[in-house]
Every structure is written in C-alpha cells, then in structure tokens.
C-alpha cells in the first residue's frame, strides 16, 4: 500500500501547486479543504496500518480531529470571515501566476536536492513522500509571500501546517500524541486569532490588503 501513499503525497503536492494558481478567495478555501481531505485520507491509511500492526489508535484519533478541524471548522470560519470579499479576484501579484507555478516547481526540485543529502530517510519510498510533503511546506510558505491579501497569509500558513503534519506522519508516523494535540490546539487558536485580526484590520483599514499595513518602517 506504500504506492497509495506515494500517490496521495503527489496529490498533496498537486493540490498545493493548484492553490498557487488560484486567484479567488473562495477557490483558495476550496483547495485547502481538498488538501485537508487528502491529509485525512493519508492519516486514515496510516492510522489503520498502525492499528493493525501496533494496535495504537493515536493516528486514527488525529485523523478524526483533522476531519473535524481542517475539513469542517476552519473552512467554515474562513468562509464566515471573508464572506464579503469572497468573489473578489485578487489582481495585483508581485509576479504573475505562471512564474509563481514555475517557482513552486523549482522549490520541489530544491527540496529534493537538499533532502537527498540526508541518509536518515534512506529508503526511496519514504524519501519520495517526505520530499513531496516537504515541498508542500515550502510552497505554502511561498504562497504566503506571493499573496497580498490577509487571506493569502492565513491559507498559506495552514498549508504549511498541512505540509508539516504530513511530513511528520510520513517520516515518523506522527509525533508523540500529546504534542500533536498541542499542535492542533495552537493551530486552531492561531487561525481564530488571525481571523479576528483580519476582521479588525478590515474595519480599521477598510481593506484586507496587507500592503496597506506599512506605517511601521525603519
């Protein structure tokens, strides 16, 4: 079943790149949800496997949490927060879409190059999956930089988190349980706080264009 995981990891990557290519906030959120589902599936696989082998249900629990959080709650929150600007097409990028996609491919290559030096993840399969997952992290980060609106940052952050989670689950079959829980709590609060702030920014600056936040310089 390893190749299923390979497939899923590749799909993850694709979803990330897809995200980069989008322009509408709604489609951002949709893509994010899609990615969340993929993660849930991966987690399900892994959890099932570990249930069979070690009889631990940690990962399954986490899988459930993911479904609850990333597939349901967070997208809902985002929808609520950005209801008024959902259909606005984000126009001004620092670079245009094709170049962004190209650069994200470069990032994939880069992460392959850098990770391949590490003997720790020797066996090819793990390596491939980790590389994909890792590229998702970088792409998420890159996405944050490439989008000017606040939503861009939030989504990018979430994608990073996804990538990290998948990297964790691929490379070490998950962190210690308590850590994972903590991570999830942090993430949800982070997103909450960001959301609240976006609302505040929106009413203070009457726009969520982060580029307007440039009073503090030097």
């Amino acid at each position: 079943m390893e190749h299923y995981l390979d497939l899923l990891s590749v799909l993850m990557l694709l979803s990330a790149i897809m995200l980069v290519s989008h322009k509408r906030i709604r489609s951002y959120i949709r893509t994010f949800r899609l990615q969340a589902i993929l993660i849930a599936v991966i987690a399900g696989f892994m959890g099932f496997e570990s249930l069979m082998t070690e009889g631990s249900i940690d990962i399954l629990v986490i899988c459930v949490i993911i479904i609850a959080l990333k597939v349901v709650i967070i997208p809902m929150l985002l929808h609520k927060t950005f209801a008024n600007v959902e259909d606005v097409v984000e126009k001004d990028f620092y670079l245009n879409i094709p170049i962004l996609i190209l650069m994200s491919c470069v990032l994939v290559v880069f992460s392959y190059f850098t990770l391949s030096g590490i003997s720790g993840l020797a066996s090819g399969h793990v390596n491939l999956q980790v590389v994909n997952a890792f590229s998702v992290i970088l792409i998420g980060f890159f996405f944050m930089i490439s989008r000017k609106k606040a939503i861009g940052q939030i989504i990018g952050y979430l994608v990073m988190e996804n990538g990290i989670f998948v990297t964790a689950i691929f490379s070490t079959h998950g962190m210690p349980f308590i850590v994972d829980i903590g991570i999830f709590i942090d993430m949800i609060t982070a997103v909450l706080i960001m959301g609240v702030m976006v609302v505040q920014i929106n009413e203070k600056f009457d726009s969520i264009n982060i580029n307007n936040l440039r009073n503090l310089r030097g």
Binding site: G117, I118, S119, G120, L121, F134, I137, F141, M144, A150, Q153, Y157, M160, E161, I164, T167, A168, S171, T172, M175, P176, I178, V179, G182, I183, I185, D186, T189, A190, I193, M194, M197, Q200, I201, K204, F205, I210, L213, R214, N215, L216, G218
Partner: protein, 490 residues
C-alpha cells in the same frame, strides 16, 4: 509543589473572571506574581540542593535544572516588578480613558496566559511541549501587542502573529526531524525529552539532527529576534504597552533563546564539536549586531531604538553561545540575565516617558531630567548600562564575551564586534541623549512622576544591575556554573 507554577496562573485567570473592581484585579495580579516569585525561589533552592527538580507524574514531564531555573527566576522576578509597575501604568491609562475596566480584565487574563505559557516552556522536558508553549506565548501576547487597538498597534500585532507563527511552524519542521533522528534510539515513551536526547546524543542520526537544527535555529531564532528574522520585533516592542514590551524583551526573547540553547547542546554533543552549530549561531549573532547598529544610528523613536538594542544583545548572546567555550557560555548566560534586567528597566521607564509626553518621537521630548526626575535618571543610567558602560552589569558580561572571542583566536570577529558596539553606543548617544537636557515646553507637560509604583520598580531594577555589575552572590554564581556545565553537555 513546583507544579503549582503551572496552576497558579490558571487560577488567576479564573479569579479575575469574578473580580468586580479594578483594585481587586490589581490585587490578584500582585498576588499571583508574588506566589510565582516564592515558588521560583523554592524551586531554585531545590535545584541548588538536588541539581534538578522533577516529578514522576506525566512521567517526568515537569523538569527543572540549573539552566532553566536561571531563566525561570529572571521571568518571575521581572514579571513581579512589571506587575507592580503595571498597577500605576494601567491606572494612568484608565484615568486618561485610554482603556476601560473591561479591557483591564482582558489585559490581565492574557497576561496570565502569557505567563503560564512561558513558565510551561521553561519547566517541561519535552521539546515538543516547549514548542507548543512558545507558540502559545505568541498567541497570548498577540492581542497584548495590539492592545491599544489603533492602526499602528494592530499592524504590529498582525506582523507579529504572522511572522512568529511562520517561524514557529518552521521550528516544528525542525522538531519533526529531531524526532526522526531519535526514533530508532529512544522509545516513544520519552521521545523528544531533552534530557533523554542529551544523554543519548551520541547515538542520534547526525545529518538529520543537523537538518533539524537549521529549522529549530531559524524558528526559535525568529522568536528570539535574531536577524534577519527579527523584523517583527521593533514593531511589536514599540507598539505594545510598556509592561508588555518589558516582558517581551526581558523574558520572551530569553525563553526562545533557552530553547535554542537546549537544542544547541544536543547537536554539539552529538557532533562532538561546535563547528556546525557554532558557525550558524555566530553568523546570526553578528548579523543581528550589525543590523542593530545600522538601525540605531538614525533612529527617531525611542521604543524602537530599545527594541533594536534587544536584537543587538540577543545577537551577542547567540554569538557567545556559538563560540561554545566555557567562558563564553558563562558570559552568555550572564548576559541573558543582565540584558533582561536592564532592558525591562528601560522599557518600563520609557513607558513613564510615553505617558508623560505621549509621544514616541525622540525629537518631541526635552528636559526629561527636569520633568521626570526619577524616571529620567534611571533611563539615562539605563542607556549607559545597555551600551556596556562600567560599572553596570552588562559591561561585565560583554567584556567576558569579548575575552572569550579573543581567547578563541577570533581576533577579527572580536574587533568587528567591539567596533559595532562602539558604533551602537555612538548611535544611542547621538540620537537619545538630547532628550535629557533643556526643558520641556510647560504647555502640555507638567513636571512630576505620575507612576510611583513604577518608579519604585525601576529603581529596584537599577539597584540590581548596579550591584550585579561588580558582585554576584555565590549561590547565583554556582547556578551559572552548573548551567554552563549543562550547556557544555553534562
């Protein structure tokens, strides 16, 4: 007993729910900070006796050794003084109708959460939990940064939370790889425990560990304000209410640095020398000092200036840790303490100035010594102290850093460092000394201290840095030496 350290802030949160009057809120805050102080004292004693303090419940999740107790003491002491200061400060704010009593409660609750997260970060053995806690500090303090809720503070808060969350996310990557490097060595029970990792360090998978360290360094470095990840720091520190700035600069940076030091220890023990990690630390450290120098030379806003000086000192600490000689580590730890005390004093003082003149621009402030005799004097002496003038404490640790640099035959590095610090002093003198002289236009500023508890607090801090300038209690020195041993790898 030590576990009360975790419980007390939570209780405080609960209590402040029911507090009706502002006075009760203040009382609670003083109470809890006092409790924390006492507990810290108790733990210190325990650690001095036993070397480390741990409990069996949560299979040894709670663990304090000399290294963490030093930082913990700094936290509790500064928190205590800050909460004394905060009383006067907040009353002033309320008096000017800047904040409502409802927001006062929110302020205190967030403070407690912040404190809780920080204490947890310093008292747990699991690096994963440390990560969680430090992320939690970000989340708790984000609102505190944006507390004034005007354009600038909101912007600062936004940048703070975005950049720090990203940084901390990167740390998570590092921690995953740290875990990965130890999966086949350590059974899952005490995975990610730094004490176990340290004792097993030799068997960890070196390349993965290195890879992990990169991310941990960058991630926690973001929180510790190392250049080039420092960018959130000037905004947050300058926009936050002064007690918060004091805590951010004096305490939060340290706990991030603490996490870095933990991992540094493991990596160095694993690879046997400080080549790899040391270079990175020194690089970031020097870069931070350089950045600070550039920005301080022509700074217009005194709180920003203080923030940049925090970056500088974090850089010095990182550099000292990177050198990884016994002397440099000792000096670095000492510098952490000295910097925290001095910088929090400065930020508190700047809070008084801000309330009096209600302007952040240096150009708008004159005749400080006349207007605020106590605060002005403390601020002046504090500036001298922060720029490494004898006989204040920072001079002692800085000189030891220099000596250790030259001792490690890094003359070039040392010369650059010394000259950069001289430039920074020049910058501070050129930009900031003018505020003390002349006399304020009597129109909007009338002389006299407004925040008397605050004045008391900063005076205590001043005495502390003057005394520690030439003298360390033996117990404290032993603690530092023990901590040095730990950093050196037991």
């Amino acid at each position: 007993m030590g576990l009360v350290l975790w419980i007390a802030p939570l209780i405080a949160v609960a209590l402040s729910q029911f507090a009706k009057k502002a006075r009760t809120l203040h009382a609670i805050s003083i109470g809890v900070s006092l409790v924390m102080l006492v507990l810290a004292g108790y733990c210190t004693h325990a650690v001095m006796v036993a070397g480390e303090l741990t409990y069996t419940i949560f299979n040894g999740l709670f663990l304090i050794d000399s290294l963490s107790i030093i930082i913990l003491d700094i936290v509790t002491v500064i928190y205590f003084l800050t909460s004394i200061y905060a009383i006067g400060y907040l009353q002033e704010e309320v008096r000017h109708g800047k904040i409502s009593s409802e927001k006062l409660r929110l302020y205190y609750m967030l403070m407690y959460v912040f404190l809780f997260a920080m204490v947890v970060a310093l008292t747990v053995s699991n690096i994963g939990i440390i990560w969680v806690a430090i992320e939690a500090t970000t989340l708790a303090s984000a609102f505190l940064v944006g507390f004034q809720n005007d354009h600038n503070s909101l912007e600062a808060a936004w940048k703070y939370i975005i950049i720090c969350s990203v940084g901390i996310a990167i740390t998570l990557v590092g921690i995953i790889f740290l875990h990965l490097s130890s999966v086949d060595v350590i059974q899952s029970g005490d995975a990610l425990k730094w004490n176990v990792l340290l004792s097993e360090a030799k068997h960890l998978d070196e390349p993965v560990l290195r890879f992990a360290f990169i991310f941990i360094l960058i991630g926690f470095g973001t929180k510790a304000g190392l250049a080039p990840m420092h960018t959130w720091l000037p905004d947050a520190h300058s926009q936050a209410p002064s007690p918060i700035s004091a805590l951010l600069s004096g305490v939060l940076l340290n706990s991030a640095m603490y996490a870095i030091i933990r991992c540094l220890t493991i990596v160095n023990k694993n690879s046997g020398d400080s080549q790899f990690a040391g270079r990175l630390m020194i690089g970031f450290g020097l870069l931070s000092v350089l950045t600070a120098a550039i920005f301080i030379l022509s700074q217009k806003d005194y709180k920003r200036l203080l923030a940049y000086s925090s970056i500088e000192h974090m850089g010095i600490i990182a550099l000292a840790m990177g050198l990884f000689t016994p002397l440099s580590i000792f000096a670095g730890l000492l510098h952490m303490m000295n910097h925290s005390l001095t910088k929090s004093m400065l930020f508190l003082a700047s809070g008084n100035i801000l309330q009096k003149y209600n302007a952040r621009e240096i150009s708008k402030i004159q005749g400080l010594l006349k207007t605020l005799p106590i605060t002005g004097t403390v601020f002046l002496l504090g500036l001298l102290a922060i720029s490494g003038t004898p006989p204040f404490s920072i001079f002692g640790s800085e000189v030891n850093v220099f000596i250790s640099v030259f001792n490690a035959d890094q003359a070039g590095l040392g010369i650059v460092l010394i000259l950069l610090l001289a430039i920074i002093f020049a910058g501070i003198a050129a930009t900031l000394f003018r505020v003390f002289f002349g006399s304020a236009d009597a129109g909007q500023v009338q002389p006299g201290e407004t925040n008397l508890p605050g004045a008391l607090a900063i005076c205590v801090l001043l005495i502390a840095i003057v005394v520690t300038g030439l003298y360390l209690p033996d117990g404290l020195k032993d603690l530092f030496i023990a901590a040095r041993q730990i950093v050196l790898g037991g």
